[in-house]
Amino acid sequence: MYGWNGKILRIDLTRGTQKVEELPAYLMREYIGGRAMGDRILFDEIDPRIDALSPENKLIFLTGPLTGTGAPAASRFIVTAKSPLSNCVSSPCCGGYFGPNLKYSGWDVVIFEGKSPEPVYITIQNERVDFHPAKHMWGMESAETEKEIRHEMKKMYNLDNWALNSMGIADIGPAGENLVRFAAIMSDGGRAAGRSGLGAVMGSKNLKALAALGTGQVNIYDPEGFRRAVMDFYKEGRDTGEFYKRRRFGTWGLPGRANASKSQATNNFKSGYSEAFVKYEDPEVTRALIRVRDEACFSCPFSCGKRSRIKDPEYPLTAKGPEHETMALLGANCGLGDMEDICRANYLCNELGMDTITAGTMISCAMELFEEGYLPEKDLGFPLEFGNTNMFKLLKMIAHREGIGDLMAEGGWAFASKYGHAELFMGIKGMGIPAWHPQAFDALGLQYATCNTGGAHTKSTMPFYEGRKDPAYFVEFTKKDQDYICMADSGVLCWIIYHGPLWGEKLSEWLHYVTGSDQTKEDLDRLGERVWNLERLFNMKAGLAGKMDQLPPRITTEPRVKNRIVPLDDLLVEYYKWRGWDQNGVPTKEKLKELGLEKEGEGVI
């Protein structure tokens, strides 16, 4: 078999058993891998109405046919489960070395069911899968956990330094253990499958970590053609300067861009321009200030990851990040203007295992509640104006569920409505809004609001490119990009490299060389549309309907940026038309018939 391994590993945590299954051919052909395959398995195997933190929820780790093949920027793995934050289907994605190791171990899919009676961690070494007690690791932070696991594996399996260095680990920090609803699954000491709180699902299963060390191989359908295609891609990347730009600045070039377009989320989305970030508009400044070296995910020539250093004895020598989303949400949006403080906040969130985006919107919400006088200081224990570094304390309190952190760990709406102002939490379907202020571009508001997993910035191409910001076309592009990214996430390719205008046509090419498939871009887009509709049906079965496609009132009623609001209701009408859905955002029978999802739609339409 080319590309795929064709095997599913099913682990029952309740009984501590494991089972090997064949990967059905239709899943490979029609759902490719990653996100689409995960959605399908989840749709088939769980009742969407269950509580996301109950043992009935399933946690699925997936790779795609391209993972670990050397196709540029194809190192990623997907985690799928029902989200405890948004109650939607969710499929966050993470790079690093874990995905390829899972693939080289000979598995495409690992499904976790039930709940372990005691904390465990699981090691996968090719076909050998072992359970180990993790009681002594419970409470450990993310990097410490990885260190401990490597230490134990060295002793147990007599592994040498090379083997320990090659392996990949996905784990949770204290936030995941304490079921914080926006906890992340961490990997490689600072990468995260972050959005939508799957760390809490992992914690609810008493699963501390999953370590993979694979020494197997992936077969390539046309090795010579593949090699030539990669060389052509490299030439293009060098000629257009994409390699250079991304390697030099990663996402640090974006604060300047955001300020210039007035889309920098600032002070809980009160503004689209951050005074404090003016000094970081030139990415060279950030680079000179904190960068140590460039760090790539497995098989990625772009290496947009940056290792950074801050001069603070409390923090270890170097750490990953911060990326732009973190800089914006934990920085500008909380009123922090100092890069070293942002690094501290980023480091804390990574170690505690929390999504920096939702954590940022939670903190900024608390800050606004405090400044407006709705949140009394005695509840917090300390003052918390915008820009106050007491937020570090609050981050720790959330992760450990201490004091007011216990309430905040339940998510933004629960917290803000307790203090009578749910509208001050800037979230969509419960998930915090990403770094870009939607009022700067209408298209952004539409993309965020209609996203199946909640307020996510990685599920459609950002509207900074030709056509995608043109009012005549952006609704159409929103739909097309959403469908396309479903498939990019299924490959699994890195969204940030392969979004629409850059290398959108490459997916079918890589798939052809690696798997021998002859699916064209149009075929894949059709499959993508089906996945998007399948996710929609899952969400509807879970109890969310079209009315969930909403933005916070601040975005739709208060003109904060460029004196504009997002005319969401008008946009939704047009968007639903493009989707072939009715005016409530429910897929029509005809549409489902066209996509072959009639059976899946039964009971909701």
Partner: protein, 122 residues
């Protein structure tokens, strides 16, 4: 000809491992590669497989390389029985870099996007 390694700009993407295994085996498996990258916190170190040796080892302990502490076993290029790398995972047959034929055309150098690996005339 020599392959020059600049560990300061290596990003740890391991495309060289993939290129090597793809060129020599037609499939992708870093464990069958003749070059491996050791990813440290503050450095990445590509190490190219040298000759096989059965000799008792004296490269143990920690060495300092340009201010970085490195395990001497990691920077040793020898393909030896004590290491898990530079050998076929199934058969244990040792591997050695062959510069991808004659004239030399090392695939790892071609695939190295940051140019941490370069081919130099002697």
């Amino acid at each position: 000809m020599r392959i020059k390694i600049d560990h300061k700009i290596c990003t740890g993407c391991k495309q060289c491992e993939i290129a090597c295994s793809l060129a020599h085996t037609g499939s992708v498996n870093p464990w069958r590669s003749r070059i491996r990258v050791f990813v440290g916190e503050d450095f990445c170190l590509p190490v190219i497989a040298g000759p096989y040796t059965e000799a008792a080892c004296n490269s143990l302990g920690i060495r300092m390389v340009e201010g970085i502490e490195v395990d001497a076993c990691v920077i040793c290029r020898a393909s030896c029985p004590a290491k898990s790398v530079y050998k076929e995972p199934d058969t244990g047959i040792p591997l050695k870099c062959d510069f991808c034929g004659d004239p030399p055309n090392p695939q790892c150098v071609q695939w190295c996007a940051p140019n941490a690996l370069t081919l130099e005339e002697d």
